[in-house]
């Protein structure tokens, strides 16, 4: 082999000689800071800790199930929701009829932050980025004619998780479906909210208690329900690279397990109900390796925490990256999403959301949603990638990359462990700073044209074509929501509502299960805002302190002489401006209405 490799090296060098390069110059650096060689061989897979395992058996590198897609392909689960519950319900039913297998509910921002639609603070947000849900009545409409004992429903909810889960349980109950039969997932991952997604409500401590309460309630009453979807997706969207995404997500998971154990639960009673959620970007093989590495690291971590085989298997949902979509020349997004979907499925995801090509512009239209869904259907039914498990296993490159990600991510996880765990690390601002630095670094590479985005910094169009986007008539939604809230408050038994809200305050203060208390309140038609406020009275509302990351752009530009001179040019322009205007302030700022 050595002799052959030398021969290859000689040949390779002679091929690039004309460009004035050697084969060593072909080594490229990824955003993760990993050096990628131009050739991987059997040498690179010797002595890897992550190689040579089988699917369905720990450490699960090749997948959490023995048969993977060969028995049943991944679940096509499109995240959607907008306007009123009625509109979203109609949209869901149409999609289910067209071949979608699971539901994934997007709530509007007001609901996420625990405000009713009639709260003056949220006027502009009602029904905008998701569906508005104010009470159990809205939740019933949302799932009208959708049998909740058969449909697995994923709900992206973290801040107002108590009232939303309570509404879901009561809506099912009134549909005639018992709690034990509910399947699906609630995101319920508060740590990453403080880190990047920002729809938290309460301070970290009571928020972690809420999670323990939910895990406890569900392990006793909803055995098939996934109580947390530990999410790296939003970190990826905020700029985290693959190594960071895996490391922080696994560290979050460790923190949740520890919290539940501290609350007196047995790890194997709840760990199998924890699921994951990763974001898949454009680096095809890196993202495949990321999913494989995540399964290895989780298996390892859960084993150390004393979990059994079932607890150690990482099951995940994936979504193609929204960050990688462009407003410019948006049809290119179809191709990007296809590549990312391929990456997620070659990586062995259990379910997948593919973004619609117009999501950098607005909400998906019926047309763009169809293309997005069909991207997955074509992968499943035409491309024949489902015929064998983990087809990239044994690839020198992918196996070596998997191992490298494991080792790099482990360094970060150890660093977090030293800081006292993820909750503490977040409080100290460690992961946020790392992600923000990575984001600034990527942006400066794009600005310098070192990272190509077709249609944005290369091959740009002279004239952009107008694309139809879905417009939500926010005013109409707002009026409808306010009217039904008004009606609800007139017809319910307000004495009972007050009683159940008072009970929530007591439970929040003195202990007991908050979800159980909220279910009682939901039954008598307490609203989302009221239930959230009752807890806020005890817990308070939290605000993450802000920090500034500086110096990253400057550092990136100074990596090359061309960059450095560009940077100096900009500095000179600013100085000229200051000399001409007598200030560095933009005198025109604030002029826009």
């Amino acid at each position: 082999m050595d002799g052959k490799l030398d021969q290859w090296k000689k040949l390779a060098n002679s091929e690039v000689k004309r460009m004035g390069k050697t084969v060593d110059d072909l080594v490229s650096k990824t955003l993760e800071g990993i050096d990628i060689k131009s050739l991987y061989t059997a040498e690179d897979t010797k002595n890897l800790e992550t190689i040579d395992s089988l699917p369905g058996i720990s450490p699960f590198v090749r997948g959490p199930k023995a048969t993977m897609y060969t028995a049943r392909p991944w679940t096509i689960r499109q995240y959607a929701g907008f306007s009123t519950a009625k509109e979203s319900n109609a949209f869901y039913r149409k999609n289910l009829a067209a071949g979608q297998k699971g539901l994934s509910v997007a709530f509007d921002l007001a609901t996420h932050r625990g405000y009713d639609s009639d709260n003056p603070r949220v006027e502009g947000d009602v029904g905008k980025a998701g569906v508005a849900v104010d009470s159990v009545e809205d939740m019933k409409v949302l799932f009208d004619q959708i049998p909740l004992d058969q449909m697995s429903v994923s709900m992206t909810m973290n801040g107002a998780v108590i009232p939303v889960l309570a509404f879901y349980i009561v809506a099912a109950e009134e549909q005639g479906v018992a709690q034990q039969l509910l399947t699906g997932t609630i995101q319920n991952d508060i740590l990453k909210e403080y880190l990047c997604r920002n729809t938290y409500i309460y301070p970290p401590k009571p928020s972690m208690r809420i999670i323990s309460d939910i895990i406890e309630y569900c392990s006793n009453n909803m055995p098939r329900y996934n109580t947390i979807s530990i999410s790296g997706y939003h970190m990826g969207e905020a700029g985290a690279n693959c190594v960071q995404q895996v490391a922080f997500t696994i560290a979050d998971g460790i923190e949740y397990i520890k919290a539940a154990i501290n609350a007196g639960l047995n790890i194997d009673d709840f760990a199998p109900r924890l699921s994951f959620f990763f974001g898949i970007g454009m680096n095809l093989f890196m993202n495949v390796a990321m999913l494989r590495a995540a399964r290895y690291l989780w298996s390892d971590a859960v084993e150390q925490l004393g979990g059994n085989e079932q607890s150690k298997a990482l099951r995940t949902h994936c979504q193609t990256s929204g960050w990688s979509l462009t407003e410019q020349d948006p049809y290119n997004n179809i191709i990007r999403t296809t590549i990312e979907a391929l990456s997620a499925t070659l990586g062995g995801t259990q379910s997948l959301h593919t973004n619609a090509f117009d999501e950098a512009l607005g909400l998906p239209t019926e047309f763009s949603a169809r293309i997005a869904r069909n991207t997955q259907i074509i992968l499943q039914e035409e491309s024949e990638i489902c015929n064998t498990v983990d087809p990239l296993a044994g690839s020198y490159y992918v196996e070596a990359l998997t191992d490298t990600i494991v080792k790099e991510a482990r360094k970060i996880i150890e660093q977090i462990d030293k800081a006292g765990g993820m909750a503490k690390a977040i409080e100290l601002g460690i992961p946020k700073r790392m992600i923000e630095e990575a984001a600034a670094e990527t942006q400066s590479l794009i600005d310098q044209g070192k990272r190509v985005i077709v249609g944005v910094n290369k091959y740009t169009l002279q004239k952009e074509e107008a694309v139809n986007v879905l417009e939500i008539d926010n005013q109409a939604v707002l009026e409808e929501q306010i009217a039904s809230l008004h009606k609800l408050k007139l017809t319910r038994n307000s004495v009972k509502v007050e009683e159940t809200l008072a009970k929530i305050r007591v439970v929040a203060k003195e202990g007991g299960n908050l979800l159980a208390a909220a279910i009682d309140a939901a039954r008598v038609r307490a609203t989302l805002g009221e239930i959230s406020e009752a807890m806020e009275d005890v817990f308070g509302r939290y605000l993450v302190p802000g920090h500034c990351v500086t110096g990253v752009i400057s550092r990136e530009y100074h990596n090359s002489e061309k960059g450095a001179s560009e940077f100096d040019e900009v500095k000179q322009l600013v100085d000229d401006y200051a000399n001409n205007e007598g200030t560095r302030r933009n005198c025109q700022a604030g002029r826009r209405k």
């Binding site: 605000l543 302190p545 802000g546 500034c548 500086t550 400057s554 500095k571 600013v574 100085d575 200051a578 000399n579 001409n580 205007e581 007598g582 200030t583 560095r584 302030r585 005198c587 025109q588 604030g590 002029r591």
Partner: protein, 335 residues
């Protein structure tokens, strides 16, 4: 846009509560470019008769002492008592890029949403003299605009706090306990100019340390020569994070004004500051003028070269240049 407005119109809009015009007028006043000087001067002349109602409070402390958090808590307390509050936050500019992050505005998120609060970050832009000139004038503008309290916040580095003390009626030094440097302020001369020393972060788990620090400070304060014979510098504790002790701080401020105002002391402090500042400015300008005169410039650089090459002793160089300036001045005056 503001450049096409008359000073009369600008001042009328400011008095009318137009915050956008107020902000732009501040930019005009801050400008170092001569093209803005005329308008800036006119605006200032017009507001001067209206100046004098606002309390001017300085706040300084080392980075991390919690100044922004304290200002946020104190500001909200005042707003809830029905007052209008303005904050001038002096941010150090980066010596490398020349830029300033002006992050204080992002750190006071509750105040930021209040209609009765106005936060203005001001870059220190390297040299402090310019900052204090601009800050003084911005204070006048905010005072005339009807703000009841104007805070000036600075990071405590070196001389700056002493200069800021000369911009305000009342000067707060914010410290934290436990860093073992309770008395460092003495060295830097900050404690001599402080009217109150606030030990922040008197949080639940830190109470003991702050109480000890307070006592150390109290003892030290008795040794120092008081700034005014009417006012003994106080030491207080608070937790800006937990919003405790904030009321006490304002009580002390009120007490200061109640003690000083009746005998005209506040007015005389302000008068003294204005006169000192005017004198300083004249001196600065005159010196600049002298150094910029062609023949003196030449003589100076000649003397400098001679001293550098050891042809002339510094003492004789001083003599020669001073002699020349003195003769020239006499000659010009006589002429």
């Amino acid at each position: 846009m503001i450049n096409s407005m008359s000073a009369d119109k600008i001042v009328a809009e400011i008095l009318n509560g137009n915050r956008a015009i107020l902000a732009r007028a501040m930019t005009i006043i801050e400008s170092t470019h001569p093209k803005h000087h005329k308008l800036a001067g006119e605006i200032l002349d017009k507001v001067m008769p209206l100046v004098g109602k606002a309390k001017r409070i300085g706040i300084t402390g080392v980075p991390g002492a919690g100044k922004s958090t304290l200002l946020e808590a104190l500001g909200m307390y005042l707003i809830n008592s029905g007052l209008k509050v303005a904050i001038i936050a002096i941010d150090p500019s980066s010596s490398i890029s020349g830029g300033s992050i002006l992050a204080d505005k992002t750190r006071m998120t509750t105040l930021l949403r209040e209609y009765n609060a106005f936060i203005r970050p001001v870059p220190s832009a390297g040299h402090l003299g310019g900052t204090s000139r601009r800050t003084r004038e911005l204070t006048f503008l905010l005072d005339a605009a009807g703000f009841d309290v104007v805070f000036i916040e600075t990071v405590g580095v070196g001389q700056s706090e002493v200069e800021v003390a000369d911009l305000v009626d009342f000067f707060c030094l914010v410290q934290i306990a436990g860093a073992g440097d309770e008395l460092q302020g003495i060295k830097k001369g900050i404690m001599e100019v402080a009217d109150v020393i606030i030990i922040n972060k008197c949080d639940d788990d830190n109470k003991m340390m702050t109480e000890i620090a307070k006592n150390v400070l109290k003892n030290a304060l008795h040794i120092l020569k008081p700034k005014y014979k009417e006012w003994q510098t106080q030491a207080l504790t608070c937790s800006a994070r937990d919003n405790t002790g904030i009321e006490n701080i304002w009580d002390v401020v009120e007490m200061f004004y109640a003690t000083m105002e009746p005998n005209g002391k506040v007015a005389s402090i302000r008068k003294g500051q204005n006169i000192r500042w005017m004198k300083q400015q004249i001196e600065e300008n005159v010196i600049n003028m002298i150094y910029n005169t062609q023949d003196i410039k030449e003589l100076y650089s000649k003397a400098k070269a001679s001293v550098e090459s050891n042809k002339l002793s510094p003492r004789n160089a001083v003599e020669t240049v001073s002699q020349y300036i003195a003769e020239k001045l006499t000659y010009d005056v006589l002429k």
